[in-house]
Amino acid sequence: MREYLQEISALTMRWVRRLSREKFSMLFTLVQPMLFWLIFFGNLFQRAADTQVVQAPTYISFLAAGVVVMTVLNNGLAGGVDLLFDKENGFLERLMSTPIHRTSVILSRFLFVMTITSLQVLVILGVAFLFGVRPATGFLGVAVILLIGLLFGVGLTAISMALAFSVKSHGDFFSVLGFLSLPMIFLSSALVPLSAMPAWMSLLARFNPMTWAIDAVRPLILSGWAAALGPVAMVVVIMVAFDALCLYGSAKAFRRAMG
């Protein structure tokens, strides 16, 4: 057990070190979702979006939940990228030839991605706060938002790692990623509530786990506990099933890739 902790903390510190050496890219990953989606999109559509339709005092307060979950989505889907590079340049092989527990590398990646995502979510909620968005459920509500983010993020990171272990080249990886990311966002309640969508889109959006996550985060920000408890309970059940499925798939991909 002590050995296991030593491995995992060393491997996690490696990701942290790497990030700190890539200050430029760190800045952009951190700033991009808030700047582009929350600030620009939120303010741009302030008057175009009908507050009757979005059921929120301002569009930015409606959008905050969507941007939070989008950040989880993007971080999760990109979570396997570094493992992909490790696989391609042989570093992963070097790690796996040492007497470490077979799950350590993967677990360190989960730890790292989840920590970064949680920090980013907090920053986004902070920026939203500056634009007048006060979470209706207070600090406890923010904690629940982080929990939902973690539950969704684990499954997404697992998908990303499974993909990283399965693809032949990183070109394939980024093609699949690009193909997944935007449709996931548009076919969800991130930008528009389901009730305002064309029937076929809202039907598809209902099968998107992202929709369920957003529909739980949104009342935590906008309405209060009475409205939020139902969707939160629902999303926990859905995410546990989603995570189980993704972890099963990624464990299989990992075992296949590692012979």
């Binding site: 491995e7 491997l11 790497r18 050496r21 042989g90 092989e93 030839s97 040492t98």
Partner: protein, 325 residues
């Protein structure tokens, strides 16, 4: 060779990937304290063999033991006893040399002070002390390779596995890497390495296995392999105008006492001879008699190239080193 301790025992090993046979029916032993080479062209199955031995691949058939531990059932025990130096570039460009070693120290569960002590020693061994705290992206190919080797040695392994240790390096770096590898043998470490460089196999390895198309074609020390070919080689380059008479010359020489084998080449003949003193006069006499003008005569002791060609039927293709999968 009798009575030497066996460090690695491979028996009827086979590996099939997605229906493609990478290696089959490999059997060999590596003795404790020797430098053992797996020589072959890219795609021959060397790296696959190495990966099975370091427990990164499960064999499809057969078995292998490393210091008495089965590489599948006792993989964990094997990993604790070995060090591995992958092909170049297995380096995180954002980490410094020291950080690489510290990371591996934790993965081998070394206590902090022990880890630091060994790291200082290894950085000295590979002359990287001055650059230890710079990110690896600033390192040259040779320096990366030295760091690789230091990483492989950090666990104080009984056996060190090196995959193409000098692939793509300049001559000076290669010589230095060879020097380190010899020094390891002096320290009693068994070394197993793959290479597709004939000179490397010849000068560095105590024994080697020539692998081609997934099978072992020959096994032994470089000098044993060369001697086994039987005799030295005499290459005749015949004037273009006289190429028509080459077959005649070949049949005239066939059966002479000092001559063992003759093969025709586009530029002339290649003759395997028992002793050049006896063969050369006979060859010159026959050529003179047939008025077959010889432009160039080359005589050489068998080289590893000849061994390779004799056992595989083709030259090793090392002019275009490609990344191996």
């Amino acid at each position: 060779m009798m009575g030497r301790a066996v460090a690695i025992d491979v028996s009827k090993l086979g590996k099939v990937y997605d229906g493609v046979t990478a290696v089959q029916d490999l059997s060999f032993q590596v003795y404790a304290g020797e430098i053992f080479g797996l020589l072959g062209p890219n795609g021959a199955g060397k790296s696959t063999t190495l990966r099975v031995l370091i427990t990164l691949l499960r064999p499809t058939t057969g078995q292998a033991t490393v210091l008495g531990h089965d590489v599948v059932r006792e993989a964990e025990a094997v990993r604790r006893l070995i060090g591995y130096v992958p092909q170049e570039r297995a380096i995180d460009r954002f980490l410094t040399g020291r950080e690489h070693l510290l990371l591996l120290g934790d993965l081998y569960h070394l206590p902090k002070d022990e880890s630091c002590r060994r790291i200082a020693e290894l950085l000295k061994l590979v002359d990287l002390e001055g650059k230890a705290d710079l990110p690896a992206k600033t390192y040259s190919g040779g320096m990366k390779r030295k760091l690789d080797i230091a990483c492989g040695l950090l666990p104080n392994p009984k056996i060190l596995f090196l995959d193409e240790p000098t692939l793509g390096l300049d001559v000076q770096s290669r010589l230095r890497i060879w020097e380190y590898i010899r020094r390891l043998r002096e320290r009693g470490i068994t070394v197993v390495m793959t290479t597709n460089y004939l000179d490397e196999a010849d000068q560095l390895c105590d024994r080697l296995a020539i692998i081609d198309e997934g099978r072992i074609k020959a096994l032994g020390s470089p000098s044993e392999l060369k001697t086994a070919l039987g005799g030295d080689t005499l290459s005749l380059t015949v004037g273009e105008a006289d190429m028509g008479r080459v077959e005649l010359l070949a049949s005239a020489l066939k059966g002479l006492p000092a001559i063992r084998a003759i093969s025709t080449r586009p530029t002339g003949l290649e003759i395997r001879v028992e002793s050049p003193e006896k063969a050369l006069p006979a060859v010159l006499e026959a050529a003179g008699r047939l008025a077959c003008r010889l432009e160039f005569i080359e005589y050489h002791r068998p080289r590893l190239d000849d061994v390779f060609v004799a056992h595989t039927g083709h030259a090793i293709r090392s002019e275009f080193p490609e990344a191996e999968e």
